[in-house]
Amino acid sequence: MYDGKKIIPGLILFLGLVTYPFWHNAVSGKTGYIPKPKLPADKKECVEPKDYIRINHKNLLDGWKESVVRKGGTIYMASNRKRYTMSLNRTCMNCHKDKAEFCDQCHNYMGVTNKCWDCHIYPKQLEKG
C-alpha cells in the first residue's frame, strides 16, 4: 500500500475521533445513567397508572388541551372513575411542583424540548425571578 504509514494511523485517528462520544461516556461512567424524576413525597397516585402516564402523558396533555380550549370541557374522568380538573397548572404542577426535578430529568436525557413553559407558568418559575 502506498503511504500506508500515513493512511493507517490516519484511519485509526479518524475512528477514534468518530467514536469519541461512546468511549468518553464509557470512561466517565455515564453509560449506566438512568434519569430519576423526583416524585412528590406526599402523593401516592397520579391521574392514571404509572405505566400509562410514562408512555402516554403527552397524548393525555394534548387531549386535555383540546378539550379545555376547543370543546369547553374541564373535567377528566380517569380509568379508575376518579374525576380530575384538566389543568396543567392546577392538577399536574400541583403535585410535581418543580419542573427541573421532574419533567426536565427525562426530557433533557432524551433531548426533548417542548414549549409548554413559554406561556404556562409553574409556581417555582416565578421564584427565580
Binding site: 370541557g73 377528566y76 374522568m77 379508575n80 416565578l126
Partner: protein, 257 residues
Amino acid sequence: MEFDRRGFLKIAGLTVLGLAAKPGWELFSKVEPQELVPSPETLAKKRWAMSVDLKKCWSVKGCRDCIDACHRIHNVPDLGTLKEEIKWVWTAPYENVFPEHELEYSEEDYRHQPVPLLCNHCDDPPCVRYCPTRATWKREDGIVMMDFHRCIGCRYCMAGCPYGSRSFNWRDPRPFIKKVNLEFPTRTKGVVEKCNFCEERLSRDLLPACVEACKEKALAFGDLKDPESKVRKTLQSRNVFQRQPELGTKPKVYYVL
C-alpha cells in the same frame, strides 16, 4: 376411553373458550378514560352578550377599574408604547367609536367621553373567516375563542377585525407583566390575543372580571336567550347602539345611552 375426533373437538373448543374468558372479561369490563365535555347542544342553549351603560360609565371620570381588572387576571403586558400596545379592554373617544352619530349641536357634549371597548364577539366574526389555521373560532355559546397553541401569528385576523380588538405580541410579553397571575397562561412572542369574554371564569360560574370590577354597575353581562337576563333587561330600557352594525357582523356588545 376411546378418544375420537368428536371428543377431541369438544375438549379443544372448551379449552379455547376457557382461555379466552379472562382477556375477554378484561376487555369488556375496562373503563376507558374520558374527558367530560359539554355537548354542543348544552353550549348552544346560551348566547353570551354584554351591555355598557355609558351614562353610568361616565359618572366617574378617569376610571380604569374594568381595564385594570381584565389586564391583571389575564396577564396582559404593559409595553408602554402605543405601537406595540396589547389591549383586551380599552377606551376611545365617543366621536371615534360612533362617528355616524351627529352630535354637533346636542345638549350634552359626549364627543370626547371615553367609551369602553372590547371584542364584540360577533355573530358573524370576520376574524374567524380569515384565520388560516382555525386558531380562532366561534363557540356555540357565541364566544369568539382563541387557541394560542395554534396561532401562527399571521395577523390576518387583525386585518379582518373592523373593531381593532386584536393585538399582536411583537416581543416576549413576560418581562412586561407587573404581577403574573398563575391561574392564566401568559402569551408568547408571535401570537395574537384578544378578550375571551372571561371564558375561563364563565366555566366556573363567575361573571367576567370587568363586570365584577365595575363599581358603577355600568357593565351588564348575561345570556341573550334568557329573557330574564340582565342584558336583555338593559336592552329593553333605553337607546341601544352597536359598533358599525352596517358591516353585518352582528356585534354582541351593546352600548346604551
